[in-house]
Assembly symmetry: C2
Homo-oligomer: 354 residues x 2
């Protein structure tokens, strides 16, 4: 028995866990960008508004190296709330899970080896469609190819993402597809009314319910790219969609692209499950009959205030943190208490070396 | 006019250069391993025999970071002859060419993001077949998939490799395929007789001329993997096979796998072209009508003895050095003199920071 909890389809969740326990995992990190993130008040990502576009490469660099190269600091709020990539790094390191980085529309390129897709970043959906329809199709096709290649040599492909402002595009996509969604935020006072205003504007622009139209109007490059990856990868191996709201939007699109439900689970933190301002499990049930796995990072027991903040509603999830913790637990059997020690060590290392 | 020289099919070479000048390049670095490298006296790669298996990940790490993570030192002989990855790094850095790393059978995993193929490392061909036939087919298939994905978003895919002992497997493969080949070495006194003894043993074991049989008996995982990459990538974009002898063996196999001759060039250093102990251009002409591009790194003009050694017959090529220099020149128009300054700076940085 591990500290991983199963929600929604419990039977499938148990089978999924059995299929991947102690097996080979590979973490793929999809970095992307939407100018929607530049709407004031929409995201806590990035220590400073000018740094928002550096957050995706900086997270990728931090996961790999424990420090960033694109910027001098690690993504952290001025009062010490660190990027969730810290949880991701501690988890992957412990379990020796290798990482691959894919640029699917990040404005800034990471300073480490990466796969380039050539996809453009997304536009600010409050002003104009997020993507051209041709980019949507290209992102799906490219995602299918990458998913196929990555799936061939692992027993479980974990897909994480970083796209600041991504909960807003995800919400717009889901509403556009007719899903009754309230989404989580990286801030404790979820800017619901701001998000809903944006969604309203987006949906006024187009009333097409055709999924690819909805993605073009309301989405970002990450959603179609990861939906493509999921589609082909799940035909070959097990896939953990590591994230909350954004992965729900991916799943909503994947219904149209196609995927194998028997080999997919969402992996996220308990903060997403427990967020009463959102309805995450209800959203997933509306979309698909797949299991949701969650783990409690127990950050309220951390030695550090910066990490306590997570349990008070900040950040909650991101950079594949929940899915990476779950992968680490399933591969090595580590308890969530022990994992917290490693996360604390990592936080201590980062804050004392600054 | 640049400092890139064209050999063999000059017309195709001119067209190739025209097609890629000032365009987008992506460098893919394939790391691999064959136990053939463990035959005493076969390779200079690695400062110490015990480090041979660390050379591929260390080169990948050095190209990306300018230092290694898998080992504390950079791959360099005790008297200061550095890995050719130093030339690769200086060239890619200057031209802002991103790198992707692919593990195709390295014994040691690199400490940076990479694509995993799950291919096994090669066996010592002086004792037993290098690969199982099923691994050959799997390597080609996987290479095809990776080549396809990588080719989609670049105007020129540069493929470099690191496999210690790789000139010996390459020689065996070419002889097995009936090509009249004498190959270069990373040492000034090319251990021809040792290599020829090995080749004799290998060819005694099997007289099949069927290309996939020859690769299985005499080859290593890099050759079929890169032949697969070349096959699909050349259908989509331009490809520089960055290397000497090993890339000749890749090309020899690619004749069977299939590829588009109009979009392929070999890119290498003038040390390979000028090596009178080998017959590189003759080998290529026997195999295919593609152009060979070369660049003179002018290391005899370097400020450092460790780099002079290259022009005295040591190292000569490796880690995609020649092809990366050519890519850097074709993308930015830099002269080989200026590139030498950057290489000298890099050598100085590395040797003073040790």
């Amino acid at each position: 028995m591990t500290d991983v909890e199963i929600h929604c389809n419990k039977e499938r969740g148990q089978k999924f866990i059995k299929d991947v326990e102690q097996k080979r995992f590979h973490f793929s990190f999809v970095i992307s960008y939407t100018e929607t993130a530049e709407i004031p008040g929409i995201t806590v990502a990035g220590a400073d508004p000018n740094f928002i576009e550096y957050t995706p490469p900086a997270d990728a660099e931090f996961i790999q190296h424990g420090f960033c190269k694109s910027i001098d600091i690690i993504p952290m709020t001025p009062d010490g709330k660190p990027t969730p990539a810290l949880l991701t790094r501690a988890s992957l390191q412990h379990a020796d899970i290798p990482q691959v980085v894919i640029n699917a529309g990040s404005k800034i390129l990471p300073e480490l080896p990466f796969f380039e897709t050539g996809l453009p970043f997304g536009k600010n959906i409050s002003k104009e469609p997020g993507l051209e329809k041709s980019s949507v199709m290209r992102a799906i096709d490219y995602g299918k190819k990458v998913g196929n290649v990555l799936a061939l040599s692992t027993d479980c492909l974990v897909i994480g993402e970083c796209i600041p402002g991504g909960t807003t595009t995800a919400l717009s996509v889901m509403k556009g597809l007719g899903i009754d969604a309230r989404v989580s935020s990286s801030m404790p006072n979820n800017p619901q009314s701001l998000k809903n205003q944006i969604v309203e504007k987006v949906l006024e622009r187009s009333d097409s319910k055709e999924p690819y139209d909805v993605i073009a109007n309301a989405g970002d490059p990450m959603i179609p790219f990861v939906a493509g990856m999921l589609s082909t990868a799940s035909e070959i191996t097990n896939v953990i969609l590591a994230g909350g709201t954004q992965m729900a939007a991916v799943l909503a699109l994947a219904k149209s692209v196609g995927y194998d439900k028997d080999r997919v689970a969402i992996g996220t933190t308990s903060y997403i499950i427990d967020d009463s301002s959102a309805n995450f499990l209800e959203i997933i049930k509306q979309i698909s009959d797949i299991p949701v796995l969650s783990i409690n990072p127990r950050l309220e027991d951390s030695k550090f205030d910066g990490l306590h903040a997570y349990s008070k509603g900040f950040v909650k999830e991101g950079a594949g943190a929940g899915g990476s913790m779950i992968a680490s637990v399933l591969k090595t059997g580590i308890s969530s208490e022990k994992l917290l020690d490693l996360i604390d060590n990592e936080y201590s290392r980062v804050t004392t070396s600054q």
